[in-house]
């Protein structure tokens, strides 16, 4: 049943800029099975979107796939001719983006845009395509689909536009849908509707999905497996239940504890990851997370970088330490206040009338 649909092997995507080579994707390997939902999480600039754009060969200039293989049903995407890749996009793999307003053409009717996505691939005749548009809009639960096909994007609300984008993505019945932050721009109640819709579509059509997001809650809600990325590489991967229950990489652990939960009644302090992600053109030696890691040991700061090793059944992590070896008191230390008490005391002293009414 678990038939592999997409297999990315040791992918390296780099940007050749005047400031140096930016290693956006630096040796990434993962796979997506038919019908499954894979979550790819990480912060901005960790390489999630660039991995997706590499798969579709839609990298912006001056980005290039330097090495690695992207196998889709036994065919290497990196070696496809322009014609083959056009056929591959949309037909086999479709992508939906974060902001549905900028990805829709504002001067073309919604219906025509979805129709165009179908006729461009010669899979449906114009007549067939036209009939399918309404069916597709109904499938993504756009109310009054018959009359709304004639609307322009600005007449649709944010949630409806994202539905239209999903309809367009599904129009050629791809076997893999890549969704890049599909609900980030939407209000919570609309986000809930879109999550529900994506769950239903995954069940009804069996379309595999690669969900790119920074929102761990979304991954918990939608995905079966999750890949955690940091600085262009995978730092942890495994089944969702396993990763959320027992994350082994300190970055995954911190990510999970840095977001408040709405169902939490206690006001526990959040774990905050100090500092910033590394500059992708000047990466630190050793583990790329070591400058920010609260559990760093000497070996982390020097090459070689830890490799992705199995830590539990189906779970791999790239770390010398692993969370199961971290002591409880070190965990508490990671939550401590970083406020400068000294500066606070000085600021509280009424310097020349600050705080009182004497100034003015």
């Amino acid at each position: 049943m678990a038939q592999t649909l997409l297999e990315v092997e040791d992918l390296h995507t780099q940007f050749f800029t005047s400031r140096g080579v930016v290693r956006a994707v630096d040796g990434v390997s993962f796979h997506v099975d038919a019908g499954e939902t894979l979550g790819v999480v990480g912060e901005s600039g960790c390489g999630k979107t660039m991995t997706a754009l590499s798969i579709l060969r839609l990298l912006p200039d001056p980005g290039k796939i330097v090495s690695g293989r992207i196998m889709f049903r036994g065919q290497d995407v990196t070696k496809m001719t322009d014609e083959e890749i056009r056929d591959f996009r949309g037909n086999d793999v479709a992508m939906i983006f974060q902001d549905p307003m900028t990805s829709l053409n504002p001067v073309t009717k919604i219906g025509s845009q979805i129709e165009e996505a179908m006729t461009a691939h010669n899979r449906f005749t114009e007549k067939l395509a036209r009939g399918r548009v309404i069916e597709l809009l109904k499938r993504v639960r756009v109310p009054a689909a018959e009359s709304r096909v004639k609307d322009y994007p600005h007449q649709f609300s944010g949630g409806m536009r994202q539905r239209a984008m999903i309809a367009m993505g599904l129009s050629n019945e791809p076997s893999l849908l890549i969704a890049d932050e599909p609900t980030t721009a939407l209000d919570v109640t609309v986000q809930a509707q879109i999550i529900q819709l994506m769950k239903q579509l995954n069940r009804e059509l069996g379309t595999a999905m690669m969900l790119i997001t920074h929102n761990m809650a979304l991954v918990a809600s939608l995905c079966q497996r999750v890949v955690v990325m940091y600085a262009g590489r995978i730092v942890e991967e495994g089944p969702v239940d396993q990763i959320f229950k027992s994350p082994q990489h300190p970055y995954t652990w911190s990510l999970l504890r840095s977001v408040p939960r709405v169902d939490e009644s206690r006001k526990d302090r959040l774990v905050s990851i100090k500092g910033l992600p590394p500059d992708l053109s000047h990466m630190p030696p050793g583990c790329k997370f070591h400058p920010r890691c609260p559990f760093v040991v000497a070996g982390c700061k020097v090459d070689p970088e830890p490799s992705l090793d199995e830590v539990a059944l189906g779970q791999v992590a790239r770390c010398w330490v692993l969370m199961r070896n971290v002591k409880e008191e070190d965990v508490e230390e990671a939550k401590k206040s970083a406020l400068s008490k000294e500066a606070a005391e000085k600021l509280k002293a009424p310097a020349g009338g600050v705080g009182g009414d004497a100034g003015g």
Binding site: E43, A220, E264, S265, L270, G352
Partner: protein, 338 residues
Amino acid sequence: MQAAERAPARRAATDPVLVHIKGAYKRFPIGGFGGLAVRAVDGVDLEIRRGETLGLVGESGCGKSTLARLITALMPVTAGSITFDGQDITRLRGGGLRRVRRKMQMIFQDPFASLDPRMTVGDILQEPLDNFHVGSVRERRRRVQELLRLVGLNPNFTNRYPHEFSGGQRQRIGIARALAVNPSFIVCDEAVSALDVSIAAQIINLLQDLQREFNLTYLFIAHDLAVVRHLSDRIAVMYLGKVVETADRNDIYDHPQHPYTKALLSSIPVPDPVVERDRAPILLKGEIPSPVNPPSGCRFHPRCPIARVPGICSEVEPQLEPHGAQDQVAACHFAGQA
């Protein structure tokens, strides 16, 4: 004159409520036949207590940010009154308004747009001190450095420009600027929404530490209910220009009284796959109606899963009344029955 102005302020110091909002309205005329107007804030009663964090939530366009601008006197109200520390700020002008403004500051959503790109960080932080003639020039300079150290930035960065900093660092500068004149009340308008998760956690922790250290009162506005619940003592929910429910942070989650609150809370995913498997969100039908012409009666009735239409819900506007826990109010004819 001055004595008269001071007297109520002194009495107010014992008042546990710092900000009283009574029947506040804000309409933005959009012209057209019959004087159409966007009713951004449409009759809000709310109080913010000393030392607390009041969370204000609601979807885009519900009037949260407009309300924040009314409270900080950045915009005049169309009708109603807003009392800050015993003074009606809707009637203040000139010097009186300046004195009040020093006690209330704002932190904005976009750390890229809220700092002047042509000013150095030192100038940005010194500007409020200059405005209010705080201390001598030397004292101001020293204060700027302390402010930078306070928010976790290098005090020698005063000559750098905003573009040299990351989003999280810029938000720290925005916080330092707000703290420069020792305010007692800070409005955070989506202060962490634009930041990456690990950076947002840094800022959330910083805001909590500062509140404890400086005894600050916060109005924390956000659409992310998880963040709001984490930071707030009490939470107010807005829908289409009105507050529909207010309660303690735990009460509102454990037993929401208004069906909108209930739907809003149920729609937030939790970072836990085990909980997620059983979570059944209440999906609201339709979209938020236009604030130019809000629905009759209860303005939530066209989307409400328990509304009696036609009937009381589409005819009579419900008022905020005590329901559920102590200190909990909701504006719904069938509160608690969803």
